[in-house]
Symmetry: C2
Subunit: 325 residues, 2 copies
């Protein structure tokens, strides 16, 4: 029987998605002895996974539920097939991206602060880092939020999460979605090659990062690229922190050039004294996008099907190559 | 020439939407003398509008850009046609509703507080009023946000803003949208009568209020109705504060029964010491939904067309009857 390694405290409501005809091997969090497993369902926690790695023997398949598995690549051993969680993140991550965009455009961080101080904005001399001076009034009419309608959105790292995000953006009446991926393609939609990125950046009101972290994408958004963004543009990072050069991001935020909404940072977790915490025009959530109850069901539903494919000798889905894709 | 009264400081970029062949009468904010105008574009500020009313003579049409004109009804004089801004709020208000729903489900108020305190959630003993105990973990997996996907949404006061909201909700994969309006209809979509409201409330995860404030809707959501909501349900008020009995809302929020997202309150502005400011699980924005730059253009674009209709002797759109619809 195929031995499938899972975390010891995996609840039955989730292991219930696995097929019968396997031997479920429950791996304790602080694994101390060598263990033989053929199909390893990686723990979400990378520190745990890396600590267990030297004790795990006979592994043919490592299955992660993560969309980005950059952290596994350095210690993957020969003969192990690594599979990621592509596709199962589409709903949760695209929802987070939409939330981040809308919250920034409606200035929710400002109003959260107003609520904290128990001050209705009309009575309140606004200290508003999200306010662009240009939009503060339209004639005598005060502007107190912005619309997604009519905006141009650039998605960098256009894959299944990008497509799910685009579907949502379109119903909001955005003017245009510009798609960028490693290589250009025209079917089923037009996607630009990453080599065109610099020329495309100044066209966008909102730039959404959805790329994997690889040698090529690390530090991709440094000062020079960040300065190509439109004045007041919103940078949304739902990918990995190190894709953006934190120091440069802090600088352009402090200069009031752009705004940002981040679910990932570098370093992560962001330490208490870090200047990014207090950079103006920046909304930070602590890597929460994937951690919804429905995601867990979607993830283990996919893993269950993947195990079934393995049992039946069918080709696995979401196999990751050495470049991290 | 038809005299059209507008606020003195209306910027040219907005009066540019008006047709030629009218006499534009610029009304000072502190109007002191009687003034003759035929078509009155009401100021957004109701106190200003009411103060100008006794000095305005010969008015045939009062055109408001607001979706709710309850505040005009008491002092409208015989022979004056009142028109509201139905339709022009669809984009801005439906965007606010989506923002309020998503921000609540993704626990943004919690993370805003974390950012304010410079604490990454993983290191932070969470004081989370948006957390439902039941969803805090799924087995060993921490749940740190929720999805709109799969939820049931009840829209009370289903009109053009409701339809625009539904369109957006659907692309997020909600399970069901239940529609309620004054009277039942089946074309083009099924809308339930308000008399069915009590039976429908327990079916919804999210209840969105989009009703006008009338004698019938004032105080419609008191303790009894609020208690019909599902445990942990989200009440979204994008309509008018007095539709909800504030005292009762504060009570059910303090009991942790439901959560709320409000762009309107009663009283409004909410005074500094009011208990609603600090009620748990409640996101408050200070009546900002309509105040976007694009809204202003949409509003004056509509008013321009309305003036044109008046000049051409065509029937006006959005005429409001004595019940406030």
């Amino acid at each position: 029987m195929v031995r499938v390694g899972v975390q010891a405290d995996l609840p039955e409501e989730l292991s219930g998605f696995f097929p019968s005809g396997i031997e479920l091997v429950k791996m304790p969090k602080d694994l101390k002895e060598a263990i033989e497993i053929e199909f390893w369902v990686l723990p979400f926690n990378r520190v745990e996974a890396e600590a267990q790695m030297p004790l795990v023997q006979g592994v043919k398949v490592m299955q992660s539920a993560m969309a980005g598995v950059d952290w596994v690549l350095p210690w993957r051993r020969d003969g192990m097939t690594l599979c990621d969680g592509r596709g199962i993140h589409d709903v949760s991550t695209s929802e987070w991206v939409m939330t981040a965009i809308l919250a920034s455009l409606k200035w929710l961080p400002v109003y959260a602060k107003g609520q904290e101080e128990r001050k209705w904005i009309g009575d309140w001399k606004l200290r508003n880092p999200f306010l662009s001076e240009r939009t503060h009034t339209r004639g005598r009419y005060r502007v107190l939020s912005e619309e997604l309608w009519g905006r141009t959105v650039l998605i960098v790292g256009y894959g299944s999460i990008g497509a799910a995000t685009e579907e949502k953006l379109k119903v909001f009446g955005v003017k245009k979605v510009i798609r960028v991926a490693r290589s250009a393609r025209t079917e089923p939609v037009e996607v630009h090659a990453i080599s065109e990125l610099d020329a495309l950046l100044p066209q966008a009101d909102i730039v959404v990062l959805l790329l994997p972290l690889t040698a090529e994408t690390k530090g991709m958004f440094g000062r020079e690229r960040l300065e190509r963004l439109r004045d007041g543009a919103l940078l949304v990072n739902a990918a990995r922190g190190p894709i953006v050069v934190t120091e440069d991001l802090v600088a352009v935020l402090q200069e009031g050039k752009i705004r940002a909404a981040l679910d990932v940072t570098d370093p992560e977790p962001l330490p208490e004294g870090h200047p990014l915490w207090s950079a103006p025009n920046c909304l930070i959530t602590p890597h929460i996008a994937g951690l919804t109850p429905n995601f867990m069901e979607r993830a283990f539903g996919f893993i269950g099907k993947q195990i079934e494919r393995y049992l039946n000798g069918e080709p696995l889905e979401n196999v990751v190559n050495n470049a991290g894709y």
